[in-house]
């Protein structure tokens, strides 16, 4: 080959074509992500445009009502807070203790330990409505707990949140280097002391981050609560965890069903309130992670 093939016009044409394909592909990737983000922006824009005008003190302090201009979100917000309290009090200790056991104490290569791990991984992927069916069948029909109460809602969401906390807790505990354990054991601490005095405090920021993310997911969850009847019209904020109550996402769902057009503003405003809560929780999680994360 005397004539350099790579200088022939035919080669140049082919190269240009390949480079054009390269640019096209890159542009395709960019437009995919831009399209997704544009959808997000559109969603937020429409909610803000419809709802921002509806947020005032009356709206934030009122409870549900049949007339759109006196209806507010405080009743639902209080219901959400009570429900989240029950969820947190149950799922956090349970999740952390289970994570500690599986990571630090569980015997290796035992059949039943494997079952626990498999069922935790599967529970994390079970559709949320199934947990609602469980709550309905067990807590309401079998145990006779009061319908549409934050107690039952919190229990159901706790079962759903626990696997999330266990998984993030195990990762956080795994990230603590073995040298910490060895040091504690070497100066005479027992295994339990090592874990509770040294490993757990070091893993706590990671566990908390996972917990907050799990709680944020539970806060936005509607389907399981629909199953246990938390869709009642509740005109007064609940006084305790056994009173009938609504929660924020359920309030959004109920208002979105109203035929009266005036409720569009209420629904969007409630969505803004819910998103602000979620944003605050996720922000806190990111802050915790950045502040306390240790790179060993």
């Amino acid at each position: 080959m005397t004539d350099a093939g790579w200088q022939s016009p035919e080669f140049a044409r082919r190269l240009a074509k390949r480079h054009a394909a390269e640019r096209r592909f890159k542009w395709l990737g960019f437009s995919a992500i831009a399209l997704s983000l544009a959808f997000l922006a559109l969603l937020l824009f429409i909610m803000l445009r419809n709802g921002l005008g509806g947020i005032d003190w009356q709206f934030l302090s009122g409870s549900d009502s049949t007339s759109a201009n006196v209806a507010g979100v405080w009743g639902a917000t209080k219901g959400s807070l009570l429900t989240m309290l029950v969820t947190l009090l149950l799922s956090f200790p349970m999740g952390v203790l289970a994570a500690v056991y599986l990571e630090e104490f569980a015997p290796k290569n035992r059949r039943w330990v494997e079952w626990v791990e498999v069922s935790i991984n599967n529970l994390a992927a079970v559709p949320s409505i199934i947990f609602g069916l469980l709550g309905l069948a067990v807590f309401i029909n079998t145990l006779g707990f009061p319908r549409s109460s934050p107690l039952v809602g919190g229990l159901t969401l706790a079962l759903m949140t626990m696997p999330v906390i266990v998984i993030s807790g195990r990762n956080a505990i795994k990230a603590v280097p073995p040298s910490i354990r060895d040091a504690a054991l070497a100066i005479g601490a027992s295994k339990v002391q090592t874990v509770f005095h040294h490993v757990l405090p070091l893993a706590l920021p990671g566990i908390l981050t996972g917990t907050i993310i799990g709680m944020a997911r539970a806060l936005g969850e509607t389907a399981p609560l629909l199953m246990i009847g938390m869709r009642a019209f509740v005109a007064t904020p609940p006084g305790g965890i056994t009173d009938p109550s609504s929660v924020l996402p359920m309030q959004i769902f109920l208002w979105s069903d109203e035929i009266d057009k005036a409720f569009v503003q209420n629904t969007s405003a409630a969505i803004i309130v819910l998103l602000v809560f979620l944003l605050a929780m996720n922000g806190l999680a990111i802050y915790l992670r950045n502040k306390f994360e240790v790179r060993w």
Binding site: I46, P127, I129, I130, V138, V192, L226, S256
Partner: protein, 457 residues
């Protein structure tokens, strides 16, 4: 309630026991210089012996007390007028119970009012007995714990054993939950399949639980249109949106974007996954569905409905994008660097490398990710409840209103509640099918991911 007070008292006793035992252990410690356990552990040992038996007694008593109260009330002369059939009887007793705890409650039957007084008396009597039992258990346990308090007593080992028991119980909760799900679904679905044959349920094409009655149950519980709607919305339309967008986003973020841009764009993309589904549902119903209806109208369709499979599927697809993207991200990252380096060294452009080397090598991981995404999409509830509609029909027209398994579960269980009718029980049968399908998808996907990782490690 008297029980709340008793529980508080038990915990108070536990606290007192903790301090007392620790103080005593400290006294033992002085002048001796060595003991098996630190004084604090003696405190915990004592507190455990006070609280644990008391809680056990409390649990047992709360389980048997309603039965005792009921038999006491039935022994009352007023109870002789109770109707013989169990259903009415239970309703009147429940009413009496409500009045006993809250005098303002309204009774539907005058008999409830008459029974309320004996009910309250019985509750008070047995409540008092129960509280006494709980306190006795606490004191007995505490007394036993106190006799153990000696210098050589291995309190720490005992306490640690209790802690391990607690940890074990917590981790068994996961199995218990799984078992609870399976048992409740199978049990209720079993009741349903007593009335309706499973074959008719799984292969019938007519779904109308509303007018199911008497002998034609089998004909009205054909769930195939529901399965079709679920698959069409969740596995076809949503995936047509989510797979290209999610995959291309992942490729752009991992292969083309600079580190800084990736750091900004990725969390923003993740926001899509954090938005509650009820918000997506509202957005689909408020904004997307009317646009699609108008579009269908302009395409020449006669009265297009506001609720369409396309609106629900489209929004659901967007919701799944970050999930597909992060799964694809993992799969691409698992492909060894040497493979793409080899391709680049031979003169292939970046996009050729991605298309011909990276994607084929990452394919198992991507497929597994898509399966997980499908299992998520078919279990999604709020979007379809708010945007997909109630009409159970077999259609391939995306502008038609279609219904899904999750939509029907919500419909069947939020109407009027008559619990043991085939209509409500069918929701559990649908739930069982949904659970089994998502479980299979998850198990296969996790297997594939695991094997795929091992292949390249």
């Amino acid at each position: 309630m008297i029980f709340t007070a008793v529980l508080l008292a038990v915990f108070g006793l536990g606290l007192v026991g903790w301090f007392a035992a620790r103080a005593r252990a400290r006294l033992l410690y002085t002048g001796r210089g060595s003991m098996h356990s630190m004084p604090g552990y003696h405190g915990w040992h004592m507190a455990l012996w006070i609280v644990a038996p008391a809680l056990l007694a409390w649990g047992v008593w709360s389980a048997i007390m309603p039965g005792l109260v009921e038999s006491a009330v039935l022994a009352d002369p007023a109870a002789a007028q109770l109707p013989p059939d169990a259903m009415n009887r239970a309703a009147i007793l429940a009413d009496a119970n409500a009045i006993a705890s809250n005098p303002d409650a309204v009774a539907f039957n005058p008999l409830s009012n008459a029974l309320a007084e004996p009910m309250r008396a019985a509750q008070q009597r047995f409540g008092l007995i129960g509280s006494l039992l709980v306190v006795i258990a606490a004191l007995a346990g505490g007394g036993y714990g106190f006799t153990k308090l000696r210098a050589g007593f291995p309190a720490r080992t005992q306490v640690e054993r209790a802690v391990l028991g607690l940890l074990l119980t917590a981790s068994l909760m996961a199995i218990l939950t799984t078992f609870g799900i399976v048992a409740s679904l199978v049990f209720e679905a079993g009741l349903f399949f007593r009335d309706v044959s499973p074959i008719a349920f799984l292969t019938g094409t007519h779904w109308a639980p509303g007018n199911a009655a008497g002998a034609d149950l089998d004909e009205n519980f054909g769930a195939v249109p529901l399965f079709w709607g679920t698959i069409y919305i969740g596995a076809v339309i949503a995936m047509l949106v989510a797979i290209p967008l999610g995959l291309m986003s992942a490729i752009y973020l991992t292969q083309y974007a600079s580190g800084r841009i990736r750091k900004i764009l990725k969390p923003i993309l993740e926001i899509l996954a954090g938005i509650p589904t009820v918000v997506y549902g509202y957005f689909a119903a408020l904004t997307v569905a009317p646009i699609i209806r108008d579009f269908a109208g302009s395409m020449g369709m006669a009265n297009p409905s506001t609720e369409s499979a396309l609106a629900a599927g489209l929004v659901m697809g967007v919701m799944i994008i970050p999930f597909v993207s992060s799964m694809a991200d993992d799969a691409l990252a698992a492909v060894p660097r040497a493979m793409s380096d080899g391709s680049l060294a031979l003169g292939a452009t970046k996009s050729e490398t991605i298309k011909k080397v990276l994607l084929p090598a990452a394919l198992p991981g991507i497929v597994a990710g898509v399966m997980l995404a499908i299992s998520r999409a078919i279990g999604e509830t709020m979007i379809v409840v708010m945007a997909a509609g109630a009409a159970a029909r077999l259609s391939v027209n995306p502008f038609d209103s279609m219904t899904t398994v999750t939509y029907q579960i919500v419909q069947l269980l939020t109407g009027d509640q008559e619990f043991n009718s085939p209509k409500t029980l069918s929701a559990f049968a649908l739930g069982l099918v949904l659970f089994i399908v998502t479980l299979i998808l998850n198990i296969i996907a996790l297997r594939v991911v695991k094997r795929f990782r091992e292949a390249y490690d």
